[in-house]
Point group: none
Chain length 190, copies 4
């Protein structure tokens, strides 16, 4: 019946525990998760939470950064050094990777990118920047049409994101991915 002994950790370790607890819950229950839930899951006191995250939104921001970094690490953009790049193929594979990554993180994406939080703390989305960079590079290589990189990247990312959303909510994965690939290829084809 006694309470578990107080565990003293390195700040980074403790912060990580909280973050991971939050990820588990967000994945399972979406954006209705509260501070209360996270501290219970992490096995820490409420005060501990606010020691590391002054506000709830600060936690979400940390999660967002982690998610972005995680994707960038898992699916890095190739460098020319490794050989000539198949630009259309790169776009296709990255898009596909994004969909699958989102799928594996379900609720988190919703809570971070399609909730009120996203409105409160907007972010020059990393995905958009990546696409813009790829478009520019591909254009220099003569592999893409001279579309306006920035706005086009933004629109394409929206399409990719929607594809992920659609698959996540039970759509026909093959059909959606096919439509997405067509859209990407045709939009960028020289």
């Amino acid at each position: 019946m006694g309470k578990p002994a107080r565990r003293r950790l390195q700040p980074e370790a403790r912060k990580l525990e909280i973050v991971q607890a939050a990820e588990r819950l967000l994945q399972a229950h979406g954006s209705q998760v509260r501070v209360e839930d996270v501290v219970r899951e992490a096995g820490v006191a409420k005060g501990t939470f606010f020691l590391y995250f002054p506000t709830w939104d600060d936690l979400l921001e940390t999660l967002r950064d982690r998610l972005v970094t995680e994707f960038d690490t898992a699916y890095p953009l190739p460098t020319e050094v490794e050989g000539p790049i198949d630009w259309p193929g790169l776009v296709a594979s990255q898009a596909c990777a994004f969909v699958d990554f989102t799928l594996s993180r379900r609720g988190i994406g919703e809570a971070l990118f399609h909730s009120d939080f996203a409105e409160r703390r907007p972010l020059a989305h990393n995905g958009v920047l990546r696409i813009a960079a790829v478009i520019r590079a591909g254009q220099e290589a003569g592999a893409f049409a001279p579309v306006d990189p920035d706005p086009t990247a933004r629109l394409l990312f929206a399409a990719v994101d929607e594809a992920a959303h659609a698959v996540a909510s039970g759509g026909d994965r093959a059909a959606i991915l096919a439509a997405l690939q067509t859209l990407l290829r045709r939009t960028l084809a020289p």
Copy 2:
């Protein structure tokens, strides 16, 4: 000595007053509007609100339906009767209309389509259905490529919506619309 009984209205008239009050406020202040605010603006008692809308989300749903209907009415799809249809032009003009319509309704769109409400009460979005219908009809007329109508419509709508969002948050209207037109034309071109 009690205050004069509130005038009795036709239920529909009363409901409309509330709805319009909500529209005004949502447009001005986005998703942070509360029941309290709406009833004050509408000049009705709090209880009256819940007489017409069992929950807050029911009001939002009503607003969403109205918004959709309003757009459909303002920008109806042409019928063949009126003459031959310029399919690419139709898509372009509808997309442009959507962006402008969204712009004129600012906060409402956010509150209805990009908030937690949208997650709680998803909707087979009307905009998607319209695009799908146009794609199908255009394909029959030989004006569009044989893309898969439903998933493609969904992705295209996401792009259109993002364009609206981008313009609303201060993006370069001309550049964004141009990129959108390019994306639409290329994706559907035969």
Copy 3:
């Protein structure tokens, strides 16, 4: 075991109930009383409290106003109409009344006038104003020395207040009041 039925009152009546509950508790337990305690004592929900007092300090302010008004009503300053005024006697009796009044309200005075609240929400104290008025009137009647009314009133009120404090915390009432009377008389004597 059932909860007591919801009682619907006129706003003023309900507000009064809360105020009186607060007075009872403040009198008994001083400035450590909390919103939680007041609502329990008043038999209302927490939300009801904030319906009438946006913040805790607003309640204290209401209590302060009531206390001041109560004293003014209980011990009104005489008007010349009622006959010639015994100025030194008036000062003496008002001072004495103040001490007794404070005594009968114990903890309330502490919580309102000697706590952090008093620092947060200072008030041109009513007691000071009364004394200043009496000094001026008495001077015109030739009954008091030509002391500077405003600062003197402030100092005299501090003395009166301290006397009340002293008696309340167990001092020798007779001795303290005698010393107070001497101080007042000598300070104002022509």
Copy 4:
């Protein structure tokens, strides 16, 4: 790899560092200063604070004692040895000194003598004792009226304190001090 152990100091030296840090902060920010702030200012760990002061109130008590001692040292009461004493002048100069001393310590006085702390930990105030002693001595020298020393001292101190308060909060220093001198002189005059 741990950080170098904190230098060990003589306990009294360490305690003094904390006390002085607290004085600086209290002077600047009044009673809203927190333990957190003090330890940061003192450059010690939170636990260290509670090593020297079991509770926050214990620190305040220490500060209070220091403040009192400081005043006594800065403005010592003269002994007869030094020559005949000008009793009314002594009272006047001490009162004036007190006001100026308080003024130079602003926030500290508020936090120690006019806050909830003062209620929680009352103190037979030193200032009162000094005045009482002066009254008694002056009476023996035939320079003061036969007022009751203890209660009178208490009331006079309240007046002096209020004068300090009044000046500190922006009152007319000259007028207030004049009124105070008059009050003191008249109350004690034989």
